[in-house]
Symmetry: C2
Subunit: 337 residues, 2 copies
DNA sequence: TAAATTTGTGCAATCGTTCCCGACGACATT
DNA sequence: AATGTCGTCGGGAACGATTGCACAAATTTA
């Protein structure tokens, strides 16, 4: 069995009390240099590490933060996680990552898990299915520090950090228009998600600016964010089977883009000859794709960093924070073909 | 501040002792039905959750396992993690994921982190840089249950689970040979990694079987597994600049494949006209690539599941386990073009 | 009716750590 | 010689939950 050494082990081995050993290790002034040296050397020798559970119990904090994302396989999130870890580790915090796979049930369980696991704070990006915010609201009301990023809720009052989704969507859509497209469809995630709302707004704004009427038939929502391939496939097929077939699609997410490309490939539809594409994606292999896909790239790493800094500020604040920030970071449009 | 309710809160609110409350919640026989109901209802109402740190301290286990992989952005690992989580969650364990980014220093820190964090066991895939196994050996000797997967060490005696790398490499190489290639190069990760060794062996075996001489100039190692694009680029360029230029490359990893494709694209080298490719990859977007890449796919999800089952068996075993298993799972070759 | 048994509950120790408080020797001060 | 100060160190409570043991009240038995 794995039994790490404890303070008591050091104390009995050295004929001291646990309090003295504790103080020696924490370099308190009231311990003699000789004793300190003795203790430190022995502790080093047996590779003593304080028991984090005992510490958490005593200090009432765990020096760890919980992260809730839909999927680590998503490039946006894996990059954001790298940003989160870079800050968290530097400040002495552990990071516990959980995935919702866009499921509301899974999100609830994970949040519950993390809260009971006594993390000091939460970094959350909502799942595509999430409508009800009760589980988060209650926890927030009870004082759990949390910061939302990417997919943020309207009604929970805390720090939020998002990409400039509206501007990004506007840029992508306008790029399609400037490429000569007029019948631009929009394939997006579930309707209640903040990113969906904002991207839809940017899409409409671009159309409006260029005097193109918004066609409701051109807007397709995938309630599970493309988690199920059939969902994406059906949406794309519906677009392609319209009488007035679109000549471009603006796609609101990574997984949706891939799903869409797969359908187009299966039907052997030429891109960009028959249809032009643009979409949100943080994938680093888009350049290698057979079909060109102009992409709006979010500063994921930076967003992860910023969100973590905000969360640690909440966690370490001595007084309840009442002023919350809504940070918006610009996106970049990468044009392909 | 976030102060979850404790047993004592319930006890004082109900005029009982903490022991009675504890027993009521754990449904012990010696508590009257009336009291039980009272306690359960109140606990439900205030959403009581036992403090996991107090429990871990008492039980001397945390019901959590640590995972060490090189990168969650790697499709193989993200799929493996899904497999790990599926088992762990079902058995009531938390999963703490850490990334090495192929760095030995990072691996040491993460292992140290997880050990001090008192996880009950470790699921490890070695980093490309790792040569020295001291940090793992010492922990293992001190009784920390661990299971290795994918990249496994020779000298630590515990459960290991790998894909049939040799057979997979053999299949891929033989496929290249059957496609008419004779001058087959091999682009791979750092030389000491188990997967590199086994895949190299399979590569050589296929060449031998078909009476093709192994050309040492055709074998290129990337010590950081393609973590740095320059590394991959240089290796590929060296291959392309050989007097006797190879007509195919068998690539031993996901990131290397992508790096290689990027170089070929930059140089505008036609695939498969000028050079044919095959490689290990669990990416689900290879079909969409401009350049066809036949791929050896590992059963990542299944490997994650199996590794976790093995680890939990070690953790929950009453007696020290001395019989260890070396599970090898078959790969699948997906041919493109 | 008194003794024995059952039933329900509380006390206290434990896990590993920190920290308040007090102890005790050595030395200086009055 | 008595008191004060300082430098070092130990005792013990606390954090939250579990659990063996003790013990009172309620019930059954003799």
């Amino acid at each position: 069995m794995f039994e790490p050494p404890t303070l008591k082990d050091i104390a009995t081995a050295l004929g001291l009390s646990t309090s003295t050993v504790s103080r020696a290790l924490r370099d308190t002034y009231e311990i003699s240099a000789k004793t300190k040296k003795l203790v430190l050397e022995y502790a080093e020798k047996i590779n003593y590490q304080p028991n984090p559970n005992a510490l958490s119990l005593k200090e009432r904090r765990s020096k760890s933060i919980g992260v809730v994302v839909s999927e680590v396989a998503n490039h946006y999130f894996s990059q954001a996680i790298n940003g989160i870890e870079s800050i968290a580790y530097a400040r002495g915090y552990h990071v516990i990552i959980t995935q919702t796979h866009e499921s509301y049930a899974r999100e609830k369980i994970n949040i519950q898990h993390l809260a009971s696991r006594s993390v000091d704070g939460l970094l959350v990006s909502l799942s595509a299915e999430t409508n009800d915010l009760h589980h988060l609201k209650e926890l927030h009301d009870r004082g759990m520090p949390m910061v939302f990023f990417d997919r943020v809720p309207e009604s929970i009052h805390t720090h939020k950090i998002t990409a400039n989704n509206e501007q990004g969507a506007f840029d992508a859509t306008e790029h399609l228009i400037k490429s000569g497209c007029r019948k631009i469809a929009h394939l997006t995630s579930s309707a209640q998600l903040s990113i969906s709302i904002e991207r839809l707004r940017g899409y409409k704004a671009a159309l409006n600016k260029h005097d193109i009427k918004v066609n409701p038939d051109y807007i397709k929502h995938c309630p599970h964010g493309g988690m199920f391939p059939e969902e994406t496939e059906q949406a794309v097929l519906e677009l392609l089977n319209l009488k007035d077939k679109p000549d471009a699609i603006f796609i609101a997410g990574d997984r949706l883009s891939i799903g869409c490309l797969e359908v187009l490939k299966k039907l052997d539809i030429k891109v960009p000859e028959e249809i032009t594409l643009a979409g949100f994606s943080n994938s680093d292999v888009l350049n290698l794709f057979e079909y060109p896909l102009s992409s709006v790239r979010q500063p994921a790493f930076e967003m992860g960093k910023t969100a973590t800094e905000m969360l640690l500020q909440l966690i370490e604040s001595k007084y309840p924070v009442t002023e919350f920030e809504d940070r918006v970071i610009d996106t970049n449009l990468f044009i392909r073909d």
